[in-house]
């Protein structure tokens, strides 16, 4: 059996086993999710909330932007509080203050430490004891909790309305006035928030940890990291070190074996690539993605500025037309959309280039798909605008408005449309690639792997369709992370590895066999941690401890290949210098090198910083999360997207001289700007929040009091230099691309003989 065949079989076994366990975990989560009660009553028999209230509240929360404004169980935006932690703390304080008042004190803080300790002991039992009766579907709460809920509900009703007294708090949370104009809806919103807080503070039946594994940190009711989080954090480090050791051993053994010297081509093998009509038609994908990228940066700047001025932008009351929840929605969504557009364009460009076959009506398909993408972006964004402005109506929101799930926000209709679009893309790429996939075709294995990753990118978006309007939030989270983790972090990664290796084989710099084995091996390593690593996003999403254990162990393994990314980077660098004609591909390759750097820093280091359960227990939803998010999403996939665009542009316009100066400015501005954003703002701010969360509870690290400190404002302002430099990079890139069409400088393509002579000279 050949090496390649063995690796294919290993990959198949790994994927079957991993997905079986992942699906099994889905079943566990479904069975162990915190129950949705039919009703919540007080011991006096008063009905506090019904299931209908909570479900309505969730729909209201989704319609106003959901996770894009504040967070639930730590998932979502960072400016407004985590509503679960906030409600829990407010309810606790309302009870404690009421008890203190009964003792004649002004409030809980005014009591002596001895009395505070006594009340705290009483409080713990009141909150942590599970009073849910599965037979009747009823949660029964003590009278003092019923009164406290009434008080907290009033707070939220005023906050989400337009009460002038709450104006400063709305500004601090970057909320527009009248976020939810309907009074009934505001009341129902409170019901949903209460239920998430209840699950976070109530122990599972027969257990001593809450439904959310004791998340969030709330010392007043002894919500502290469970023992399992310590154990599995320690083991995850152990697994990481073991993985690094094993992979190091593998590298040591295979060193010198994997790369037999071979004759590099004396001229660019892709110079003769015929640009077919469908390949030419992909140019508009690259124009559109650059436009989306610019808009995404602008929305990012607006979103960041809302942290300083909650409702206005330099005197202009922008929140009336583009509130924070919407700017953040579009910012996060555009990140995925423009990067995905780069993938789509690249796939459509290289498929006919690989096979040399232009299927009938391929150009029509490419154009049709592009129009569909424009309609999806415009349509879904318009729906979200009407939803957040609360004019769409809850009955239409799920299908056409704002689903409120971060990175999966678009209405269901648009998700289905996008899924169809991705399948169409898959068909277009597949039919063009087909001759190269037939038995006996050279490089069939690596082409097959590339095609499989496109199949996965196309089909795994289908996970976004797995939940319904009223699906339990724990299950929505489970499927949402299939989309965000498996789709983005898993198959994008495979695609990235495969496409770079593939391009090098096409350029004749890597032997097909070597590249195939390397890519298959890398895919196995990525997927070994990647598939079950999905669970690390779900530690505190109403899931059982087994999810925490598996998530911690396998996601630690995800970091293992990243620790050795230097090998890949060095290899790429060496190949870029291998022949004189590779100078033509200098900038795509520089961006591929940046991919390696940010894979190590953004995905590896900053990812592992927040990855172990004990770390994430405190860090989830603090600014250390976007530290990983920005540096990994843009650093890896953004850079890769740009590298691929440049590679395709080189093929589309082979006769043009490139403005190297603009690309140099662009490349360094992106890298320096991103590093400044991470180091001047996100890392220090996140670390400050972390210390606060450990000392005083998670709610405090997300509170307006903490986030409105002058030093926090100053750190937010420190984003401006980095963001400015980053934006200059984007503008330089756009000017470069526009220049290729508007002011092309023809230099002609060097002849085969010229390139051959240059190579001979260089070798001599």
């Amino acid at each position: 059996m050949t090496n390649t065949k063995k690796l294919w079989i290993s990959l198949a076994i790994l994927l079957v086993a991993s997905f079986s366990v992942l699906l099994l975990m889905g079943r566990e989560i479904y069975q162990k999710a915190p129950p949705m009660p039919e009703q919540v009553v007080s011991t006096a028999g008063e009905t506090i909330y019904t299931r209908a209230d909570m479900e309505l509240g969730r729909r209201v929360w989704q319609s106003m932007g959901g996770m894009q404004l504040g967070s639930i169980w730590g998932h979502g935006g960072y400016v407004a509080p985590d509503w679960s932690a906030d409600w829990l703390h407010r309810e606790i304080m309302a009870v404690l203050n009421a008890w203190a008042a009964e003792e004649g004190a002004e409030n809980y803080a005014a009591l002596s430490p001895e009395r505070q300790a006594a009340l705290k002991g009483r409080l713990e039992g009141l909150f942590r004891t599970n009073t849910y009766d599965p037979a009747t579907g009823t949660i029964t709460l003590a009278e003092e909790r019923a009164r406290a809920i009434e008080k907290v509900s009033g707070h939220y009703e005023q906050l989400f309305g337009n009460d002038p007294a709450f104006e400063p708090l709305r500004e601090a949370y970057a909320m527009k006035d009248d976020t939810v104009p309907d009074a009934e809806h505001r009341k129902a919103l409170g019901a949903f928030f209460w239920w998430t807080a209840w699950a976070a503070g109530t122990e599972r039946p027969g257990d001593t940890i809450t439904y959310t594994n004791n998340w969030p940190s709330e010392p007043l009711i002894e919500n502290r990291p469970p023992a399992s989080s310590f154990v599995w954090s320690a083991f995850s480090v152990l697994f990481l070190l073991a993985g690094i050791g094993l992979l190091g051993w593998h590298y040591a053994v295979s060193h010198g074996r994997e790369e037999e010297p071979h004759d590099l081509p004396p001229f660019d093998p892709m110079r003769g690539t015929v640009v077919t009509p469908s390949m030419s038609a992909t140019a508009k994908y690259f124009w559109v993605l650059l436009a989306l990228f610019l808009v995404q940066i602008l929305l990012g700047a607006i979103t960041a500025h809302y942290q300083v001025e909650g409702q206005v932008q330099y005197g202009f009351e922008l929140a009336n037309v583009l509130p924070y929840s919407l700017s953040r929605t579009w910012h996060t969504q555009l990140a995925v959309l423009w990067i995905a557009t780069a993938w789509l364009g690249t796939g459509l460009y290289i498929a006919p280039a690989i096979s040399g076959y232009e299927p009938p009506y391929q150009r029509l398909g490419v154009n049709f798909l592009w129009i569909c993408l424009i309609i999806i972006v415009v349509g879904s964004f318009a729906g979200q605008w009407f939803a957040v402005m609360q004019t769409l109506g809850l009955e239409n929101n799920f299908w056409f408005g704002h689903q409120g799930w971060e990175y999966a926000d678009m209405g269901r209709f648009w998700q289905i449309f996008l899924f169809i679009g991705l399948v169409l893309w898959l068909v277009l790429v597949g039919r063009a690639l087909w001759p190269a996939l037939r038995p006996g075709a050279p490089g069939r294995s690596i082409t097959g792997l590339l095609f499989l990753s496109t199949v996965a990118i196309g089909l795994f978006f289908g996970a976004a369709l797995a939940w319904g309007e009223n699906t339990h939030i724990s299950m929505v989270e489970y499927w949402r992370w299939w989309l965000v983790h498996l789709w983005v972090e898993g198959f994008f990664e495979v695609f990235a590895t495969a496409v770079i290796a593939f391009l090098f084989t096409r350029l004749g710099l890597l032997k097909l066999q070597t590249a195939t084995v390397a890519v298959l091996f890398a895919t196995i390593i990525f997927m070994a941690g990647g598939v079950l690593g999905t669970l690390h996003h779900l530690y505190f999403a109403g899931t059982p401890t087994v999810v925490l254990a598996l998530g911690a162990s396998f996601s630690a393994l995800e970091v293992v290949p990243l620790a050795y990314i230097g090998f890949e980077a060095y290899h790429t660098f060496r190949l870029s210098k291998a022949t004189p004609w590779m100078e033509r591909y200098r900038w795509p390759i520089m961006f591929f090198l940046a991919v390696s750097f940010w894979n190590l820093v953004g995905a590896g280091l900053f990812g592992f910083l927040i990855n172990p359960p004990l770390s994430l227990y405190y860090m989830q939803g603090l600014n250390l999360t976007p530290l990983h998010g920005h540096t990994a999403l843009f650093g890896v996939y953004g850079m890769l997207g740009i590298g691929l665009v440049l590679f395709c542009l080189r093929g589309l316009k082979p006769e043009l001289a490139w403005n190297e100066g603009l690309l140099k400015v662009s490349f360094w501005s992106f890298n320096v700007g991103l590093a400044m954003m991470a180091l001047f703002t996100l890392l220090p701010l996140g670390t400050m929040q972390l210390i606060e969360a450990i000392n005083n509870g998670y709610w405090s690290a997300r509170s307006a009091e903490f986030m409105q400190q002058p030093i926090v404002d100053l750190l937010v302002w420190m984003r401006v230099p980095g963001d400015t430099i980053f934006s200059i990079g984007a503008l330089a890139l756009v000017v470069f691309v526009i220049g290729l069409w508007v002011r092309p400088r023809y230099q002609g393509v060097p002849t085969e003989e010229e390139e051959r002579a240059a190579t001979t000279k260089a070798r001599a």
Binding site: V308, E309, Y314, G315, F316, P710, D713, L714, W717, M718, V720, P721, T724, I725
Partner: protein, 133 residues
């Protein structure tokens, strides 16, 4: 942020002075001595860094003072003239075709720089010309 007002103002004024000084010295080096150092990477990057600090502190001050371009006319004029200054400066140091033209642009940029400072000092779009009123 008001807590840091005086520090930020000091940074802003300091970076205005430094930015103007660097521009002036680069121009002198380029036009009077035909030197190459004014366009050397360390000098250029120092200039970019100072200008970025200047921009950031300016944005911070607008928010602290709640005075914004388009709403407050002296700020509107400052921003508009700043754009012209950048263009003149770019032509004065690099893009103008002849040394004579470069010198002309450079001098015009310097004059405009001084006028912008006077607008900032006077908090009036007329800047130094308010003395004539």
């Amino acid at each position: 942020m008001i807590e840091f007002y005086f520090e930020i103002r000091a940074v802003h004024i300091g970076s205005v002075i430094l930015s103007g000084l660097i521009f002036f010295l680069r121009g002198v080096g380029l036009h009077a001595f035909k030197a190459s150092w004014p366009m050397a990477a360390p000098v250029r990057f120092t200039s970019y860094t100072v200008d970025t600090v200047l921009l950031t502190s300016a944005m911070m001050l607008t928010v602290i003072l709640q005075q914004y371009p388009l709403a407050d006319h002296w700020l509107t004029v400052k921003v508009a003239l700043l754009i012209i200054y950048i263009v003149l400066g770019a032509y004065g140091l690099k893009y103008a075709k002849t040394p004579r033209a470069r010198l002309g642009f450079w001098l015009a940029a310097l004059a405009l720089y001084l006028y912008i400072v006077s607008v900032a000092r006077a908090h009036d779009p007329l800047g130094v010309f308010t003395l004539l009123l």
